[in-house]
């Protein structure tokens, strides 16, 4: 029977994490062998022999020795720290051109929403070779989005957005786990990530039932909830216009500023008087309890769509080349 030792490498992070892992294994094996063999060798060599009942002479510690065996491990540890931190920072910064997907977790399922409007449960279809950015939140308790083959994991916390990203490098089917204990069927909160070739992904996108893109659904909600009565595109309403707000820096009452990211827009919908825009009254009612997390995501996506996109970076060619290498 074959016992697996290492998981598949299916994202750009996977080889990076594995290389660091091998470095740590090398250091650990070295020190484990060092300690084990030292204990073994010394214990045999200096075993108490019958007849010899004397008290061995004390060996006094030299400061130098103590310093040496503190500093060398510290140096090795600092390599681990720096290396690990470098990977972590890259994992924390999704690239601008990443494909955005929204995740709503609840006991005990994953709901995933694509920009183009596709909704999935416990399955995620993504194209190979493109950076994928997940914006996630939970409807109830803390969950954690974990794909071992990608070496990424991020807690999904109720009441806020969390972000993770990865670039799949290999087509195939990979485990999706919930890694933060979330109640009775925690171990059933699993699914599959399907990494498709760009062509298959296009096919998948065009198939299935469509109910409009996320932004279109958000626009409908925006009108249904009467947001559009106050937030007018030409800034003539009682509330600030939302055109080009996303990504900008907003000046607030009290002199502070806030960066208008997804979390800010979410907060403005659910806790409107937390950050009031400078020059406006806190008139807006809260929508907490009236909208689901999925509704909020659609509204956020609509607000995002009101900001003109920077010219596309045309990543397709490069990524394709990378993908075909695998």
């Amino acid at each position: 029977m074959k016992i697996p030792l290492f998981p598949e490498q299916a994202s750009t992070f996977a080889p990076d994490v594995d290389n660091l892992y091998f470095y740590l294994i090398a250091v650990s094996v070295f020190f484990t062998l060092l300690i084990f063999s030292a204990v073994f060798f010394l214990a045999i060599k200096y075993r108490r022999r019958s007849g010899n009942d004397g008290v061995p002479k004390d060996v006094h510690a030299g400061i130098l020795l103590e310093v040496v065996w503190s500093v060398i491990p510290f140096g090795l540890a600092m390599v681990m720290f720096g290396w690990g931190a470098e990977i972590f920072f890259r994992e924390s910064r999704p690239p601008k051109d990443a494909l955005s997907i929204y995740v709503v977790a609840k006991q005990w399922m994953w709901k995933l929403e694509h920009m183009e409007g596709q909704r999935e449960i416990n399955e995620l279809h993504i194209p190979v070779g493109r950076p994928i950015r997940l914006t996630m939140t939970s409807e109830d308790v803390i969950h954690s989005f974990y794909v071992p083959a990608f070496r990424t994991k991020q807690d999904v916390v109720p009441g806020r957005y969390s972000t993770t990203w990865f670039t799949p490098t290999q087509t195939g089917k990979y485990h999706l786990f919930c890694a933060e204990y979330c109640g009775t069927t925690h171990s059933g909160m699993i699914g599959w990530v399907y990494v498709l070739s760009p062509e298959d992904y296009q096919d998948w996108l065009s198939g299935g039932k469509k109910t409009g893109t996320l932004a279109e659904r958000g626009e409908k909600l925006f009108n249904d909830l009467a947001c559009s009565n106050c937030h007018k595109p030409d800034n003539s309403g009682r509330c600030p216009t939302l055109v080009s707000v996303f990504g900008s820096t907003v000046k607030l009452v009290g002199g502070a500023t806030a960066k208008a990211d997804e979390a800010y827009i979410r907060e403005s919908i659910l806790r409107p008087d937390a950050k009031v825009v400078f020059g406006y009254q806190p008139l807006m009612p809260t929508f907490q309890g009236q909208v689901t997390e999925e509704d909020v995501l659609e509204l956020v996506e609509y607000v995002k769509s009101l900001t003109p996109k920077p010219p596309a970076l045309a990543p397709a060619a490069e990524n394709k080349a990378q993908a075909s290498n695998r």
């Binding site: 009290g254 806790r271 409107p272 008087d273 937390a274 806190p282 809260t286």
Partner: protein, 221 residues
């Protein structure tokens, strides 16, 4: 066993060699206990600071619904009780048994005044629907949640403080009974000493609760 040393003072426990060692150990023990109390309240202070930083305006608004004059008066009451307590300890140090008893009684009475005022304040909050729970309502805040957080912390922290006051009153009762029985003298007054430490500590906690809940950013209203 050094029985001769123990024969000298009936209050000396067997594990100690001298009365001074015993007193030192008891006092140190009380201080170490106070360390745990600091960390205990510290966890709540941390929660308070985190939420105050997250919702400064709502906390200022909620804060101004507390009656600052009552709060200040109650602070004064507690400071007076600390004063009588320290006079009691001084009386014990000098072996003045009557002064000790009187000061303990005064300390207790002031403690009860504090608790009475606190109960009155809580009752007011209850009538105003400021007690966290299903019936909570804080007029003037669109965000009921963070406003409720303020009052959750207010009740949790002042409640635990009041619980410590009640325990303090229990300690005072015990000290009073023993002092009337004449157990304490200039030579042996460690229980009075460490009871006093506890009482002053509870006072210090209130010294911080008062500005945190009643004063800071009150003017923002």
């Amino acid at each position: 066993m050094a029985d001769h040393a123990h024969a000298a003072s009936p209050a000396l426990q067997v594990q100690f060699d001298t009365a001074e060692q015993q007193k030192d150990a008891s006092t140190l023990g009380m201080w170490v206990f106070l360390i745990t109390e600091v960390m205990f309240f510290g966890g709540m202070f941390l929660a308070y600071i985190v939420y105050r930083a997250a919702y400064p305006d709502i906390f200022a608004l909620a804060s101004s619904s507390l009656n600052v004059y009552i709060g200040a008066a109650n602070t004064a009451v507690l400071l007076c009780s600390s004063f009588t307590m320290v006079l009691g300890v001084r009386a014990a140090q000098l072996g003045q048994k009557k002064a000790l008893a009187i000061n303990i009684v005064l300390t207790m009475l002031l403690g009860f005044v504090f608790l009475g005022v606190k109960a009155f304040e809580w009752r007011e909050k209850f009538i105003e629907h400021h007690v966290p729970g299903p019936s909570f309502h804080f007029a003037g805040a669109a965000m009921q949640g963070p406003a409720q957080l303020f009052f959750s912390l207010y009740f949790a922290m002042t409640g635990l403080h009041a619980l410590h006051m009640v325990i303090g009153a229990g300690i005072m009762t015990w000290l009073l009974i023993n002092s009337i029985r004449g157990k304490y003298s200039a030579e042996y007054m460690t229980p009075v000493d460490i009871g006093g430490l506890y009482w002053h500590f509870v006072d210090i906690i209130w010294i911080f609760l008062f500005p945190l809940f009643y004063l800071i950013d009150r003017h923002l209203k």
